[in-house]
């Protein structure tokens, strides 16, 4: 218990819990729409692009988030546009872009700094990697994601459930798809500092899938996913501190347990 209280006395832990909590919330909300629209792989693809951008930024000695956020946002919009129009279909396009970005990132790292702890923290995440300015930026952007989601909730539901109907009744579906892509991109970049490029997509997909096992209405799925995401994040982070395991991996493990539990409950 003493050790438990001691944990919260560290500034970096307080910061990690606050920022991570906000990001988990955003990821879970967006995840519901993404999973239902069969866009689950976008999170994964974007995180690899994010890794490439971070690697280049660190090689050039510029602020990592300032480079990664615009690059990933542009990629997200392109992915969405291309998957609608081009001859290469969405999933193949994501695979091409994500592996290419990872390759460029790895090449960039190996010719400049080599595999150091900073690069490793991009791959697998680190609670310690959150600087004060990162934390502020993350908090502001997460708040924006949450606000936009709440404001446009009826439209996001309609566009997710039936894009053709929404379009026919005069909703600008491209706009909302783009909004979804941009918000996802921002969340992915912010989340990958802590979760790591390889694990961030689980933060988007797991809570939605778990919630869909037990809830039957859209609103309850959204609320349940948000709650589960926060719970798993907190449990994972605390476990990582107490057991000395990597934070990102511990959070994914907590999500996996929650998914198994929800699947069991859903079966009953």
């Amino acid at each position: 218990m003493n050790e438990f209280m001691h944990m919260f006395s560290f500034h970096f832990m307080q910061r990690a819990l606050l920022v991570g909590g906000l990001i988990s919330l955003c990821a879970a909300l967006l995840g519901v729409s993404l999973v239902l629209k069969r866009y689950s792989m976008i999170g994964d693809g974007l995180s690899h692009v994010g890794f490439g951008a971070l690697a280049i930024a660190s090689a050039l000695h510029v602020a990592p988030l300032a480079v990664a956020i615009p690059v990933v946002v542009v990629t997200a919009v392109l992915l969405l546009r291309l998957s609608q129009n081009s001859k290469i279909k969405g999933d193949a396009m994501i695979a091409i872009i994500s592996s290419s970005a990872l390759a460029i990132g790895v090449i960039c790292v190996s010719v400049t700094t080599g595999m150091n702890t900073e690069v490793s923290s991009y791959m697998f995440g680190s609670v310690l990697s959150l600087s004060r300015s990162d934390a502020v930026l993350s908090a502001v952007l997460s708040a924006a994601v949450l606000l936009l989601f709440v404001l446009f909730y009826p439209r996001l539901f309609a566009v997710t459930f039936d894009e053709t109907f929404s379009k026919a009744t005069g909703t600008r579906t491209e706009l909302y798809n783009t909004l979804l892509a941009v918000l996802t991109a921002v969340t992915v970049v912010l989340g990958m500092r802590m979760m790591g490029a390889l694990l961030i997509s689980s933060l988007i997909i797991f809570p939605a899938l778990s919630a869909m096992r037990v809830c039957r209405s859209f609103k309850s799925v959204v609320l349940c996913a948000a709650g589960l995401s926060l719970l798993c994040f907190t449990v994972g982070t605390i476990a990582s501190y107490l057991l000395d395991t990597p934070a990102g991996a511990s959070i994914v493990a907590a999500n996996l347990l929650a998914f198994c539990a929800c699947s069991l409950i859903g079966k009953i």
């Binding site: 404001l151 009826p154 053709t164 026919a168 009744t169 039957r216 209405s217 859209f218």
Partner: protein
């Protein structure tokens, strides 16, 4: 009074014409059935009427103050929707999307309209049920209620009875006819079921990459085209 007038409509994909020479006028309260084989241009015409595809030639005019965004559309169901976690109320309420305007959320009036349309379709007891747990016939009634939330004047139904059993099919046709007669809502239905079309609809539009026939059901039954389409059997 004409609610819809199509003049010399022509649609093309990548330069190749898929539908041409469509000329017809519908009055308020008409019930039009669009028939034709696969690839005859039925879906293209639908997209045109909904404003999802612009015609290469010709014009679509709505009368009576109707806008293309005020059409109650019932699309064909996709696999994705069948396992979508949403309550019946959420789905029906999303039909009020076009009356949101600048508002961000649905108001009491929208909710009342959703409830009214659920009652009309006899699904008010199901409103807290999950959409994915319903039978095919119930799901179609939910989507019809949603379409009715979106319109006061014109319903556009894309093969609304596909995959339904005979009883549910009959119920669906009766509900559509009821809405058409009681509320004077114009109905345009794309269908493969030519027998039902001739029985329920007031007008028939037969397409085969161009307009092969437009007229009343009675005229259609007498036409040589109908006899050929039906394989020699008169309806």
């Amino acid at each position: 009074m004409a609610i819809l007038t199509c003049k010399d409509l022509c649609f093309a994909y990548d330069g190749s014409t898929v539908l041409e020479g469509v000329n017809f006028t519908l009055n308020a309260g008409n019930y039009l059935c669009v028939v034709g084989e696969n690839g005859s241009g039925k879906s293209t015409l639908m997209k045109g009427l909904l404003g999802l595809k612009s015609p290469d030639r010709g014009s679509i005019e709505f009368g009576d103050g109707l806008k293309s965004t005020e059409i109650g559309y019932l699309p064909q169901q996709t696999q994705l929707q069948r396992d979508f976690p949403a309550s019946v109320r959420e789905v029906v309420l999303s039909g009020c999307l076009n009356s949101l305007g600048r508002r961000l959320h649905y108001n009491d009036e929208d909710k009342k309209r959703a409830l009214f349309n659920m009652e009309r379709m006899g699904i008010e007891d199901l409103q807290d049920k999950s959409y994915q747990a319903l039978s095919g016939g119930q799901q179609q009634r939910v989507l019809l209620a949603r379409a009715l939330c979106a319109t006061k004047k014109l319903l556009l139904l894309d093969e609304p009875v596909t995959g339904l059993d005979p009883i549910a099919t009959g119920e669906m046709y009766n509900l559509i006819k009821l809405v058409n007669l009681c509320d004077n809502i114009t109905v345009i239905m794309v269908s493969h079921d030519i027998h039902a079309a001739a029985r329920y609809a007031t007008h028939i539009l037969h397409l085969g990459q161009k307009q092969l026939f437009f007229g009343t059901s009675a005229q259609y039954r007498e036409s040589a085209l109908a006899r050929r389409f039906l394989g020699g059997n008169r309806i």
